[in-house]
Each structure stands twice: as structure tokens, then as C-alpha cells.
Symmetry: C2
Subunit: 632 residues, 2 copies
Amino acid sequence: MRKIYLSNTPRQEALEKFLSGVEIPRRIETEAVAKSLGRVTAEPVFARLSMPGYHAAAMDGIAIRAEKTFGASDQNPLVLDPVEDYCNINTGGVLPAGFDAVIKIEELQFLEDNRVEILAPATPWQHVRAVGEDVVAGELIVPARHRLRPPDLGALLAGGITTVRLLAKPKAAIIPSGSEIVDPGGERGKGSVPDFNSTVIAAYLQEWGAEPSIHSIVPDDPDQIKEAISAALEISDLVIINAGSSAGEKDYTCTAIEDLGEVFIHGVATRPGKPTILGQARNKPVIGLPGYPVSAYLSLEWFVQPLIFRCLGLPLPQRDKLPVILGRRVVSEIGVEEFVRMTVGFVDGRYIANPLTRGAGITMSLVRADGLLVIPANLLGFEQDETVEIELYRPQSQLRCNLLAAGSHDLIIDLLATAIKERNPQMNLSSTHLGSMSGITAVGRGQTHLAGVHLFDPETKEYNRPYIRKLFPHKKLHLVNLTYRMQGWIVPAGNPDGIKMIGQLADLKLSFINRQKGAGTRLLFDHLLREAGLSPDQIYGYAREEYTHLNVAAAVAAGTAQVGLGILPAARAFDLDFIPLVEERYDLLLSDSFYNSPAAKLLLEIITDPTFHRQVEAMGGYSMRDAGQIIE
Amino acid sequence: MRKIYLSNTPRQEALEKFLSGVEIPRRIETEAVAKSLGRVTAEPVFARLSMPGYHAAAMDGIAIRAEKTFGASDQNPLVLDPVEDYCNINTGGVLPAGFDAVIKIEELQFLEDNRVEILAPATPWQHVRAVGEDVVAGELIVPARHRLRPPDLGALLAGGITTVRLLAKPKAAIIPSGSEIVDPGGERGKGSVPDFNSTVIAAYLQEWGAEPSIHSIVPDDPDQIKEAISAALEISDLVIINAGSSAGEKDYTCTAIEDLGEVFIHGVATRPGKPTILGQARNKPVIGLPGYPVSAYLSLEWFVQPLIFRCLGLPLPQRDKLPVILGRRVVSEIGVEEFVRMTVGFVDGRYIANPLTRGAGITMSLVRADGLLVIPANLLGFEQDETVEIELYRPQSQLRCNLLAAGSHDLIIDLLATAIKERNPQMNLSSTHLGSMSGITAVGRGQTHLAGVHLFDPETKEYNRPYIRKLFPHKKLHLVNLTYRMQGWIVPAGNPDGIKMIGQLADLKLSFINRQKGAGTRLLFDHLLREAGLSPDQIYGYAREEYTHLNVAAAVAAGTAQVGLGILPAARAFDLDFIPLVEERYDLLLSDSFYNSPAAKLLLEIITDPTFHRQVEAMGGYSMRDAGQIIE
């Protein structure tokens, strides 16, 4: 039996056990104030000098003796002689000895021979910036455990402080482990996995105020893992091993930590993130992070960030929260706390959120996410249209301008995302690819701004309109053409099976890779099947689904499928052959309120822009001849 | 006539004129992905490789041929032989050729001779991570104008991207100018001003994504200023001169920019920040910032930050806003947009904000500020208890835990600030020093959590209680002793005037420096005057007020006053002599709701802690013998 069963400790309990079991040792260092931005003070800092260091004029004007001006009035103007009665002075200038007030230049009448006339008395010390008005010697400038911001640096320097005692950045060692792991820039043989996790972990640590260092990759060898941890402990304040924390046969991390110290927790009741190891060795924290990227990064945030912030004496930053309406049902399992990455948009006056792919291995789900939905362990999930609170990855002000795109996947949607951002930096296009049918439903129900659709209706021989009319007969929606694009067979280079007709797929028993239900391309395939008098069970692989054209092409390129149906640029991305079959119309469906918004105006501007047309057509297989034409 | 009058252009109008007149030139550079955290993409980035690059097991278990398992059930278990029927596989392992599904280890029965038994069929491609599941070649990873976050770096590396085209950081030259300006670490002669502004400006620019460089200090000489700007333009994308933008006789900045290019704006209708110059030379932005620190930093944020963010194609970050109740009236002038730094606390279930000192020269007002109140040009200000919206400098979650202290100033309050932060990093002590009387009013009215008070009542010979009873006879408030402290004469070292008795101040016509109305120390002085049968007009300088003990000592140290009344550590901070007069009781007044909060418990823990007592008593002139004793 090679299986080690992981525990199922609730996240909060695991964190408390970890934090009470070990801490990052605090070190203090001295640094120049000018180099201390963002760093944390180790001690309270008191001013050494006063600023200003002398009595200074607070206005441009003249320095005078207040006593001399008593009695001056409109009826009884007072004439002052230079040198004896007054000196010219600019803002910041030294108040000369014996003078005790400043009269503003605006209040002076200039006479001959440099004499000036005043019409009102001055009060002693008026318009004088007293010694220490900004910072006074002995005053507290910043307390201990304070993260230094730009104006703090100014106040320190003003107070005569040029070096400051800081909490040293915790030194964090990152040890990538696994015999399959290779350098991220290196050759990728079959079965090798590039180590991109270390770069991400280091980037998070850097943002949190630690000093990360990425160590050499360690193969799956118990002795080498132990040695690497041991060596890292010598020069670091905490050690992170990634991965080897699941329970596969070659996972030696847990044993290594046990041998060197103590494992507090192996397995937390979360998804993703379960196979986390929390322990200590030589009184320093040692963490085994899961190998899957999303698991690793979430686990890092749950368990390492609090450790670092506690060491620096800073409050843990809280993400803003936002109540949103769920565009789709989200199910979960009892007993597991689940973390779902979400896109968010402001549709018809409400914030709507839709879940992204759930897989722990999908880094792109974090790249695309606008927020995170946490489903507590005691819930089975949430229903569509339910209001839930999510943690925000982007500021709410930006989500207000987020465009939500659903429906069919096309590479033009990616180009649109960039074109929109270039024209209006506030805006962002968040898209989820669920297929044309779901896209229509989402627009009709007010869950998204727009959807790409390409649904051929065999009865009427028309695209999109029949489906929309059937689903939402009474709703005012807008259909605008985006492009015409060529669909065809995606086959290995040289088309070894000589595919031309759909009948060959059945005859040659070719392994096919299909698209998901509701996708326009799948409906097209079904239509082609019916036309040829074939049934799905005659196609090997009919049940195997991918969600995008590129993923279909990837399967063909990997040799796990011999043919797929999709668009030309997808075939090109993998140097595959493309056998054109049919040109189809690809439209955008817009809700009525969105159609009348400035954002839609910008969108239509882009899709009718000849520069954008050239960009799209360069990908191959597209015609933008009717782009922007309103169909309904 | 040496006066140049400044224009009074509204801020928004000035910004639009500036932004439409000139922009920072965009440059592109290539950087390693691992070094690109926080940088901005110049182009959309598409994946070059797929991740995973092969079909991989998504679970620990065995790889099988799905077809072979059809028909397996509880009633009809299927036995699989190693090598021929299955291979062991760990998460991430390569699916061997010919195999098309994975069965999880949990679903296996282990038999003898390495054979395994299954009780259910597998579906093709179950638990298989398909090629490109995370990132598929050709897919858009990030659009152009995207600020790279940690997971973005991971997705780029996963997609086979190791270098990325970025928008170069705009190079910003900072030229400190003024003949009075010296290096911040250098000697401070009388009339010299340390250049701390450049460090602060550079720190802000760095935070905003620019690359600042601080140039040499330029004296007030028209040719040298012009030369410095001209040289900076050669190597920079924008040039900032600080200061020389007000209209004093030696302000040559404006003329210099006019000579080299064009001045769009000289003078904006704001307070602080008015003397700002916005212009261009050689098609690059040139900005003259005001000399006063707060003016300079606000002006930088109004006019330089939008320029940088536009160049980087990023949305301008918005500060969170919060509706607060004003603890005090805030007046303003019609025609001027005013920016008031505020402290904020959560008192009795409401967010209460109080203004800090208004002076443009007070860097400490930015250090202490929790938020910023913007008073529009068309308003005369806001009334006490009015609800206004402020921009937040700290997250709301932290302000929720902010302790607001008002009332008398004592150095122990500074020590408390540090002690609180050390025990609970979430907490922060924001204090405004308005004197004991205002402190009692603020606590009684629910505008602050606590106040330091030391008011002697000559009739009852008692401290504090008589005043509180008179002001709030029916309110439940709590009075807790903090310390006993020695008040005395603060005089130059060696006590040259031999001061002992108050009568000498009048007899010798000594120049006195007083405290503000409502301060306990001022009431003490008035009491001493009455006891000696003296009247205020017999004291020279009676009307001259400072707000803290340290500022009183600073005036004596500067020689502009010969005597002040205050506490020992203030005298010590300036190496002055201290003639003890009277030991007074200094209490803390707490509102009822605060008294019963966990924060107050923490506060009382600190002031009864012997370590804290030692710290306080080391400053001199304090006795903590009754600290924490509840008086009422």
C-alpha cells in the first residue's frame, strides 16, 4: 500500500496550529531613509532636529517689529523705512534678529526711496513659521511596526533622521522539487514540467515584504530533499518546498520535514489546496506547497502571508468584498471549503459573477479572475441568481467598467480585449467560453453584456436569429455581425488520413475530438452528421469534449485525436493542416441596455475599424466584410 | 514691483490643459518574465507552448484503456494485470501511449501479484489532464497595457514565454532648486532648508511605476536653472523642478520654462498647491512644484500621476471613499478648492473625522492623516456633525480599529501609540492636540474615544472631575489616571534670568511663550498669575501661542522666547533648563462605550504594565504610581 492518507483539517484550525507552533525570527537592520520606502520600522522614531530650524517667513513680504506698527490704520497710515523698520523677505527666509512679524506683499503700498506704507497694525508673530512648526525635535515621527510611505520619508529627513532601524525582510527559500521539473526556460521533453511556480511564489513573497530566493531543483530522492531543506534552513528564515506534498508514491517531502523537525498539519479541508504540509525544523517554518499552481498560490496566501505579516508586525491586508448575483449555479461538496475564481461585470445595474474553470491546475483561471468566491465547508454551493459575497482581485471601480462576454469562443474576442484596453484603460473584457447556446441564455437573462454566437438553423438555413427568437421571443436584443469564418477539419500536418468528407470519420474509425454541448461548432458537426445520414455512436470519440478551438487543435497535435472540427487559426497555432468545410456567420448578441451604453459604442467603433479588420484577417480564415452590420 | 501674480485656474481645467498639451513619450523594452512583476505589457502576449505539453494523469492511480473496463460492476468485478492492463501513475505523470483514462487509487482493490480489481467501468479520458488544459498554444495570456501580477508571470512561463515586451518606465528628473536648499543629510546652517522633498517625490514616482532620478541642487540663478532643466531634458521623459514656483523675487523657474518651451498654467485654484507650474519643453512635460511639502506632494499627485498612468495605459487608481461625521467645523474660502488632512475613528458606531493642522508646510499632517477631505471651490466649508465623504489614506478595515485621542498633549501618548501597535498590529492611535477642555467636549459629544486631561480647579483644589461634571453632568464617562507629571519653567540652559517665581516674568519683562486657550497648561499659568495677583497684560508674549510642550521648548531654544511653562522631557529634548513648579495629575477620559471595549482593555493593560512605567519614567518628571487607577 503506497497511499498516505491526508488529514482534512479545517483551514482556520490548521493556520492557528501552525502560527502557535512556530514563527519567523525577527531581525533588525539599519538602512538609509532614502532607501526605506515600503519597509517596516523596528522602533519608534523621534525627531532629532526641528523643521524649520529657525523662525521663517511664511509669506513673501517684509519683516517688521510688530510693536512699531501699533496704531496704523486707513486714517493713520504708517510709513516704514528700509533696513531700520523693515527688511524684504521671501517665503522660507530667516526672520532677522529683533524682528517678530511679517506683512504680506499684497498689503503694502510702495513709496519712493524704498519706503513702504501700511494701513493696519501687525500682530506679533503673524505670518511667521515658528521653529519646529513642521517637525519639532523630540516629537514622535512614526511608531514602531510602521510601513514607511513617501511622506514618512520626508518627515524623517525633515526631523534630521537619515538612517532608520528596520525589521529585516524575512529570507524565504523556495525549493522546487520533483524529477519531472525542469527550468522554466529550458527544453521541455515529454513528461517534463517547467518550474513556473517558483517564480510566482517568489513574486508573491516579494510583494508581501519578504526576500525570496529560488534554490536548485531537487529530484524525487529522499536524501536529496532532506539535504536541500537542511541547507536552506542554514541561510533562510523560512523554507518552502514545492511540490511533493500530495500523497503519490514519490512524495518524500513530508517524511523529510518529519525527520528534520515536526509536521503540524498534512492536508487541509480545502479545494484546491488540500495537500499542504505545515511544519517546522530548527524552529523555522517549513511549508510543503501543493504542486498544482492554483493550489500552491492559495495555500501560500493562507499560510505564509500571515507568517510574514506577523513577523513584520503589520495587519494582514483584507481584500475588498462585494455582493454579487450568481449568473450560474455553483455546486460544492460538504466538508470541503471551496475557492472558485469568478469573473464579475456590472450588467443592467447589478454586479453579476460567473465561475471560471475550477481545476487546481488552471493558472489562467487566476489570470482571468476578477474575484474569488469562498464556499464554506457546510454548504452544498449556491443557486443561480443567489446573492453571494466575493473577495475582489480588481478594484470595484474597474469591475464597474468590466465587459462580460459569454458564448462561443473565437480568437477575435482576445483581440477585442486588447483593442478595448488600448482605447480605454479603465475597461476590461472578461470572457467565459460556454458555447453559443449558453451565450444567448446569458444575454437574455441579463447575466452578461454580450455573447459570440454562430448557430446554424438547418430548417431556415439562417444563423442565430431563429434560436434567439425561440429562446427569448419578447425580449429586445441586438444582433450585430462580427465576422464570417471558415470551419473545417483540423488534422495532422499532411492530412495522413486524407480526410475530406465526414463519412470518412466513421469508415476509417478515426479518433475524433468533439466540442462541448451547446457550442455552435458541435451543432454544426451534428448537422453535418445528419446530412450524411450518420449517428453519433458511429463516431469514435464523439463523447470527448474540449471547450475551445485551440484545445481541439492541441489534442490533434498531441496525437490523442486524429481529427477535430474548428477554425483555421487554431490549426495554424499548432502547424496542423486545415480542410475548409463551410463559411459560417459569427455574430455578437448584445443586451438592450448594453447596446445603448458608451461601452457598446466603443466596441462597435473597434469592430468597424479597418485597422482592426486587417489584424483579424491576418489570422486567416476570417472575412470582416459585414463587421458591425446590425442584423436585428 | 517684484510681485508676479499667479492665475487661479480650477484644478480640473489645469489638468485637461496640461494633458492635452503634452505627453510622456512611450518607449518599449524587452525584459525577462521573472523580472517583470508590476511592469506593464506593451503588446498582447499569446502562448507559444501548451501546458501541460502532454496528456497527464490528474490523479494518483493507474492508467488503463477505458474500453477494457466496460462492463465492470459490483456484481462483476474486473481484475487487471500489471503492464498489460494498467500502469501505476502519479498526478502529473505521462499517460503512456495506448492508454486513455486514469482510475483513482481510492477506487482500487489490491490483489496478489500486483493485480488490481475494479468495481466500475472507466469513461475514456477520465482523470486525464489534456494537453493545453492550463494554457494552450496560441491563447491570449495577457492583453497589452496589463500590469503583471504574480500569477500572470506563471501563466507566461507556462505558455513558453520567457521574455516579454514592456512599456519602459518613464524617466523622471527631479531638480531641487533654491539657494537655501542643502542636502538632507548635510549641515543645517541658519536659513538653510534640507531637501527632503526630492526623496518624497522620488518615492511617489517609484510607486507609480516611473524611474526617478534626483539631480544636483540648483541655486536661485536664472541661467543655472535653465541649464539644469535643459540638461535633464536630454536624458529624461519628464522634468520636475522643486521649488521656485511661487512668486517671490527669486523665483526664476517659470521664466526658465517659458524660455525653453511653453507654460500652460501658473497657479491653480487650490489650497495647498496654488503655486504650481505646468508646461513643456522639447515636447516633454516640465512641472514646477511648490516648495511647501504638502503642496508639492498633492500637486505631484494631481498633475504627474495622471501623466504617468496615461503613458502606461493604466487606469488611474481611485482611493476608497468613506462617509464620515465631522467632529469639528471646517471652514474654507469661496473660489478655492481646499484639501484638509483628517484623522478618522469609529466612535459609538459612527465614523468620526477631525481635521489636522492645515498648513502647507506641515509634512506631519500627511504622516498622521487617515484621509483627505476635499472642499469644493463653491463651498464655505462644512459644519460640525455634518456628514461628508473623504478619500481614505488607510483601508477602512484599519480605521475601524483606529483609536482617536484628543485633548492635552503629552509625550506618553506617543509611547502609547507604539505600545498599542506592538500588541495589536490592526490598531493605530490617531491623536489631535487641542487641549484638555476640547478633549472633554470631544469625549462627551462622542467625537473621540479618549482624551488626556489635566485641569486644576482652584476652588475645589481637585483635578479634572469638577470640569467634567460641569460640562457633562448626566453623561456616563470614565476617568482613569495615567500619570503625575512635573510642570515647570522651561528656560535657556543655565537659567540666565534666574527665574524661580512667576512675578519675575512681569518684573524683568521677560518674553514669554504661552499655550493655546483651553490647554491645561495655560489654565495652570492663569491660576499662577491670579495667585500672584498679576494680570495677563503684564506678561509680554501672553498672546503668543503654541500647541505642544515641545514647540514651547523649541521657541525658548531658538531664543525668540525667554521662558515658557511645560514639562521636563520637552526641556530635555532641547538641552534647556527646567525649574520645577508643581506636580499635576494627568488623567485619561474615556467614553462609556469605549471603556467597555476590548481596545480599552488593551489600553489599560499597557498603562498598568511595569515595563511601560519604566519607559515613561525614564523620560523624567513622571510618576506612574497611580497609573490605571479608576478615578470615576
